[in-house]
């Protein structure tokens, strides 16, 4: 069980750390084994930052992440290595995940060297093949090749296979299929969904609501580093409460229905992020809006309190 408690992250803006730009603010949720949790947000929402903090690729500014009760920030050396045995990640750009200078197998080599030094060559090879087959890859097709000789789908599978070599309990999947071709992305998606049947907890980070809805048990809606709605996926999608969630759902293009005509004055035209931008501008300009309180509108469904109107429980339709 991986818990995020009031997790916050600020990036240093400008030189000498003067001026901090908040990226994630007081985020709390947990990733349970055997479930997929979707973390949904638009660009700049801080969703990838959360993933990187879980993977200890970025330090936490305040709050904490615990894994089986232990504060992840305190892990160093061999303890951190043991954490990585249990918690692993797959990233957005499959080509960036592979060192272009080396063959794609290097991702396995590193694990072999660091974790399986005492394993015989034959045992290792058997383990590797099992893992590759588990993600639907034929070892002969992918081993010994360079990343640019393989397709994006194959590469993402290789990365999942790499994680499966370890005894992982949590997998952080950061936009893993957004760069894949339509015809192959659903296969990788199904692969991730299948992991929960092995008892793994998956954090599925995405900007695409349809993917989140397809795959996950729990959904977290994030905007500008703040959680706006969180709960069981069926409830969040079936009975969205926050105006932002509703706007997202109304805006997502669908295959079998058209966008509802825009109501006059609806914010979609100017868009929520259309404020002129500039790094650090928000931080030094107006004061930050406070992190809203989460209100439970129905069992297992929490919504951020809005000024415009209190979230109401019950089905609107």
């Amino acid at each position: 069980m991986l818990n995020l408690e009031n997790l916050s992250k600020s990036f240093r803006g400008g030189s000498f750390g003067s001026g901090a730009v908040p990226a994630v603010r007081q985020v709390s949720f947990s990733i349970a084994p055997g479930e997929v949790t979707s973390l949904i947000g638009e660009s700049g929402s801080g969703k990838s930052t959360i993933g990187k903090m879980i993977l200890r690729l970025l330090p936490v500014s305040s709050g904490r992440i615990t894994f089986d009760g232990v504060d992840v920030a305190s892990l160093e050396g061999s303890a951190l290595k043991e954490y990585y045995r249990k918690v692993q990640g797959v990233f957005q750009d499959p080509f960036s995940s592979f060192n272009p200078v080396f063959r794609a197998d290097r991702i396995f080599r590193m694990l072999e060297r660091e974790y399986f030094g005492d394993l015989g060559a034959r045992e290792w090879s058997a383990k590797l093949h099992t893992s590759l087959e588990a993600v639907g890859l034929n070892p002969a097709d992918v081993l010994g090749k360079f990343a640019h000789e393989l397709s994006g789908g194959q590469l993402q599978r290789l990365l999942v296979a790499r994680a499966l070599l370890l005894d992982i309990e949590i997998l952080v999947a950061d936009e893993v299929i957004s760069m894949l071709d339509a015809s192959t992305r659903v296969d990788v998606l199904n692969l991730l969904a299948g992991l929960k049947e092995r008892g793994l907890g998956v954090l599925f980070i995405t900007h695409d609501l349809s993917l989140g809805h397809y795959i996950s048990e729990h959904t977290v809606i994030l905007r500008r580093g703040v959680v706006l709605e969180i709960g069981e996926t069926a409830k969040v999608f079936g009975n969205p409460q926050h105006s932002y969630t509703k706007m997202l759902l109304a805006s997502v293009p669908r295959l079998h229905s058209h966008w509802e005509p825009l109501e006059p004055g609806e914010p979609a035209r100017t868009g929520p992020r259309d404020a002129p931008r500039g790094r650090g501008r928000r931080a030094r300009g107006q004061p930050l809006e406070p992190v809203p309180l989460l209100v439970e509108v129905e069992p297992g469904h929490l919504v951020a309190f809005e000024d415009g109107g209190t979230a109401t429980a019950g089905d609107e339709r």
Partner: protein, 302 residues
Amino acid sequence: MSKDTTTTKDDTAAPTEEGNTAPRHELVYFALRNRKLVIGLSIVGLLGLAAIVAPFSARSNPDAFVGPPMQPPSSSYLLGTTYFGQDVYSQLVNGLRQSFLVGIMGGGIAFVVATAVGFTAGYRGGAVDEVLNMLTNVLLVIPTLALLIIVGGYLKGTSIVFEAMFVGATAWPWAARAIRAQTLSLVSRDFVGLARLSGVRSWRIVVGEVAPNMSSYLFLTFILLFGNAILISASYDFLGFGPPGGVSLGSMMNLAFAWNALQLHIWWWFVPPGVAIMGIVGGLYVTNVGLDEVFNPKLRSL
């Protein structure tokens, strides 16, 4: 790297079976076809060869007084003789040797410092980066030659090793800055994150994952540092701070100037060393550009 640069549109053909081994063949193909690279390498190679065989091809000890003074180039004195009657050709090939040595050693030291600073700053980031960056920027502003003036003034004669160390200590900042920038961009790539997730230690990530991705860039940096070192040491020697007794391309020009070669029209005394320096440094620069064009397809076609 090659992936980003060879396919600019999303619409290029998917990787192909034939494409598997192509990039390397392509590099060789473009290398051989690149006129700048071929010309630059030939010049540097020929001069380098002359420097290596200097002890055998030189007619005499460069300092020995072999004949009548101020002889113009002739069959007996290939490049004439100096004001004192030393053989210019022998001095030249020995000077070449010295220049290459200073270039390789000085450029090498500067390169090591630059990579150490650049990698550390770029990979560690944070406060370490701030401090190293500040140090780099400070040293970047102090002109090498000015520093040389006060150092040289207080030293009684120097050696090639000293010159190399001096160059190494002063010439690295721009290279460190460039390497830092490259490292920063590479560290943000996911394969570095993945290496960390695999429990690989930091120095191993830098050496094993980051550095190989900028090997061509590092090589180009070394070439430029090499050339710089030769130019700096030539100025150093021209000011008369050079190793006593030894003959370098810079000290040849210094002596020629000091003994009125201009007024006495002994042009063969100062023209050859300058041509040699220009040949090495220019050859290195052109090689650098040629290699850049080979490594970087954007620059290739035109």
